[in-house]
Symmetry: C2
Subunit: 120 residues, 2 copies
DNA sequence: TTGCAATATATCATAATATGATGTATTGTT
DNA sequence: AACAATACATCATATTATGATATATTGCAA
């Protein structure tokens, strides 16, 4: 599977989990491939969850009680539909709050311009 | 040296370099300890560059030609004042643009609310 | 004046995690 | 029949922040 990430790898670290939890919360239940397609679509290809990252993450989140899944047969193919547990819902809220706050703080440090915006 | 980071470790990954470059660009020249104090101050303690992260990063950036430094003796103590090279200035711009775009994209995926904002 | 906090640097083993490579198999299209 | 897309998976590697640890100076308060 090929990649095309617009951002340096480092920036994306830690983002995967938040994205997965947000999408699952929003759509109820989704399977791995569907998740990766959805992200690609919503970011116009800018973020691509690689399967080498996604599937291990889904396994880990399941092991940690954040997700559960049910297997659904589509012909001879088996899909694993994942959804949030109640613990997962809480975790999602925590991570979203954290991300919001993180972005706010980063913006303050990084995009402040001492020369032009002394106001506010 | 003690820590108190409000964010999960993962979120901070990749952020250190951008912060360092931005601050150096803004202040001309700074030494390691000064950098960590500045960040702590500007983020009200929310982000704390640990010396175990900062110094290796400064060494690496120097090795990569992004930074240079000059040693200044303050009494018996020696400070290393770092500043951006011209390559470092370019790198700073690149990383800032990347960060801007990254935040915009992440916000679109993560903070979109399908229920309340079908418009646009 | 003694001891502690702050200043200032540094290194290293460890942990976490995304990645690329690689593999298997099915389904739909040309 | 061949190929792209669908759908899952594993693993060695690379990157990087962290905590622990170390050294030494300086200023301040008891």
């Amino acid at each position: 599977m090929y990649c095309c990430i617009m951002y340096s790898k480092e920036l994306l670290k830690g983002t995967l989990e938040v994205i997965v939890l947000k999408l699952l919360s929003e759509h109820g239940k989704m399977y791995g491939y569907e998740l990766s397609q959805k992200v690609k679509e919503e970011t116009e290809g800018k973020i691509h969850l690689k399967d080498g990252s996604l599937y291990p993450a889904l396994h880990k989140l399941t092991k940690d009680g954040i997700l559960t899944f049910e297997e659904v047969s589509i012909g001879k193919r088996v899909r694993k539909y994942y959804k949030l547990t109640s613990k997962g819902e809480e975790q999602k809220e925590t991570l979203l709050d954290e991300m919001r706050d993180f972005i706010k703080t980063i913006e303050k440090v990084i995009f402040s311009d001492l020369k032009t915006s002394p106001a506010i």
